[in-house]
């Protein structure tokens, strides 16, 4: 179930928009390659033939006007059809005709999400992703996480993409094309997949020094598992269960962590960094930079500037070894 898929447009997930885009891509690559080979063959033929018997006019009109006009007309319509199929819009009769012409069947098209269904707000930041689930209309503060989205299988899920600072671009190559996150605008992307697993994505618009370490994961799972996860995410953090976790909790408040981080269910309500309420359940740390275990957690807290130089999280230098271990254990216990 938790298979990590290759991050590649050539490995599009079944049922995703990327699958349609990849089909369009193959037509373009193969078509361009065939035309290139044909043109080179004609050039060689013309170069090494003593007397050309071909009619110049026929070649100019046929190869220079008719062929490009037909090829581009078909390609343009094919790309309009694919574009509309991945955009999750209600298609009018003209578009439907186009979709049928190119055999893009209704199962492959991404349907518009039902009114009132799940929406996910993703806000790009230097250099991580703030993720908020809008389960009930207008409520975007009860399920907040970072750098990870979970979605139910086979359902179109609407993402609303914004940015708090510079331009970012949301790109999970195996699921959909890239969509920019532009200051002052809200862009929309609908994703869907029929294959469970973990899909990696990354920022696709240069956004500063740590752009390369701004990744995220989309985890697709069956509806029941997704529901269970969502219910858990909506709950506040549990109280520390033992002495070690309690000293980790104390260390969190001894440092400057709560100035930037929220842990729902505790007094920590900082807003500038990722919400850590269920950080222990996440697939990765530091926006897809590190695997998530107690060792990487400790290393990230103590050496965030080594790992992502220039990111807003300082190296924490106030903790003893025991405190750092306890703090990491407490954060990892927040599942």
């Amino acid at each position: 179930m938790n298979e990590e898929h290759l991050q590649s447009v050539l490995h599009a997930a079944p049922g995703s928009g990327a699958e349609l885009l990849s089909g369009l891509g193959i037509v373009l690559y193969v078509g361009a390659a065939l035309i290139f080979v044909a043109v080179i063959a004609l050039v060689l033929h013309a170069t090494f033939t003593d007397r050309l018997r071909a009619s110049t006019r026929a070649w100019v009109v046929g190869g220079g006007i008719v062929f490009p006009a037909v090829a581009l007309f078909l390609l343009l319509n094919y790309s309009i059809a694919v574009g509309s199929a991945v955009s999750a819009i209600e298609s009018g009769s003209a578009l439907r005709l186009l979709l049928d012409c190119f055999r893009i069947d209704s199962k492959a098209r991404i349907p518009p999400p039902a009114p009132g269904s799940l929406r996910i707000h993703v806000d790009g930041k230097q250099w991580w992703w703030d993720v908020r689930y809008e389960v009930r209309s207008g409520d975007t503060s009860s399920i907040v996480l970072a750098n990870e989205l979970r979605v139910p299988l086979d359902e179109p899920v609407e993402l609303l993409l914004t940015t708090s600072d510079v331009i970012h671009s949301f790109w999970v190559p195996s699921l959909a094309g890239k969509v920019d996150m532009i200051p002052g605008r809200t862009n929309r992307l609908v994703i869907r997949t029929s294959e469970p697993g973990i899909y990696r994505g990354q920022c696709a618009e240069y956004c500063g020094g740590q752009h390369a370490l701004m990744a995220l994961y989309v985890i697709a799972q069956p509806r029941e598992e997704f529901e269970a996860w969502l219910t858990r995410q909506a709950q506040p953090a549990e109280a520390p269960r033992d002495d070690l976790l309690r000293s980790g909790y104390d260390a969190f408040f001894k440092g400057r962590c709560p100035e930037c981080h929220t842990v729902r269910g505790t007094p920590a309500d900082g807003a500038s960094g990722p919400d850590l309420t269920h950080v222990g359940a996440r697939h990765a740390l530091a926006a897809g930079t590190l695997r998530n275990h107690i060792g990487t957690m400790a290393g990230w807290i103590a050496g965030a500037q080594d790992i992502k130089p220039g990111n807003p999280m300082p190296d924490s230098e106030v903790y003893t070894g025991r405190e750092l271990r306890a703090l990491s254990a407490w954060l990892e216990s927040l599942e």
Binding site: R291, I294, G303, D306, G321
Partner: protein
């Protein structure tokens, strides 16, 4: 054989020209385990891509170290235990116990001893 080898190893010291060796450990597998567990977040480890952390000590030329974390003798059996469960040997350490198999610990120790 292994218990006998272990007893023999325990009797050895660096001064007597002792060369640390981890029976059954595979250094190349250890190098890959170090990369997979991301030990390089905290340590500088030659031969492991991206391992340039400064949270813990650099593990350069580790074979020649006499003490582990300045506390325990640098012997294969102790190092195998330390990489998995550092707090049991050094209670004040910042290095958490890391979940890994005994084979992984053995391979990692083998790799660290290959660093001259």
């Amino acid at each position: 054989m292994l218990p006998i080898a272990a007893v023999l190893l325990l009797g050895c010291t660096h001064e007597s020209g002792y060369e640390p060796n981890v029976p059954g450990g595979n250094a190349e597998r250890g190098r890959r385990a170090i990369a997979a567990l991301e030990c390089g977040v905290c340590h500088e480890i030659p031969g492991v891509p991206g391992a340039w952390g400064h949270v813990g000590p650099p593990l350069v030329a580790y074979r020649g170290n006499v003490y582990i974390a300045g506390k325990q003798p640098n012997r294969p059996d102790v190092l195998m235990r330390f990489v998995r469960d550092a707090p049991s040997l050094a209670p004040d350490t910042a290095m958490p116990a890391i979940a890994m198999s005994e084979t992984q610990a053995r391979d990692i120790a083998a790799y660290l001893y290959s660093l001259e």
